[in-house]
Symmetry: C2
């Protein structure tokens, strides 16, 4: 069993204004999927992209939008997002504080 705080994982700059922490990985013994913690600065955005694996997201703090092929949808604390494989998407912080969320992906398909 691993019990830690997300702060214990080193922040990695994903793109400008976006930090990623890999909080549960294969190194912890995870056999199927891994958990990452993201922090997006006000006005910043994750990369607009698609990939052959899904995202499962829970928003912890802040306000923003998730943009996809059907336009932009507001998200905030308590939002749950499922992004299917190959769906284009990006997450934009439109609020006045950090937008924080966790995002899980299957293992061996990390980006």
């Amino acid at each position: 069993m691993k019990v830690a705080n997300y702060h214990d994982s080193e922040p990695i700059k994903e793109v400008e204004g976006v930090l990623k922490r890999e909080v549960i990985t294969a190194d912890d013994g995870a056999p199927n999927f891994c958990m990452r913690f993201f922090e997006v600065d006000t006005g910043s955005s994750t990369a607009s992209h698609s990939h052959p694996y899904e995202h499962e997201i829970f928003v912890l703090n802040g306000k923003g939008v998730i943009a996809g092929e059907q336009g932009s949808t507001p998200i905030g604390k308590g939002s749950v997002v499922f992004i299917a494989p190959e769906e284009p998407h990006c997450i934009v912080n439109t609020g006045n504080e950090h937008l924080e969320f966790i995002c899980l992906i299957p293992l061996q398909k990390k980006k």
Copy 2:
């Protein structure tokens, strides 16, 4: 893409004092793993058990302990927990407010 709030999922009584919401499931198209939201009342506990699949947990609110073979470890907002397959565990709310966390498990092995 599914964008929702965890409140949109119906709460299910897991055991006395513990509510579960299945917020991302195979019904949403999730191919590999699913996300559940748990709410544990003050003084209540999840079932003490083990099973052949892992848990990946992020604590959203409240205070408690996670009990396993190595004793009890405090958890609170921002805690990250990885429980390997077959590890005995339970989560106890030792605080004065709801203990809320999300817990992900691989698909087709739901409990």
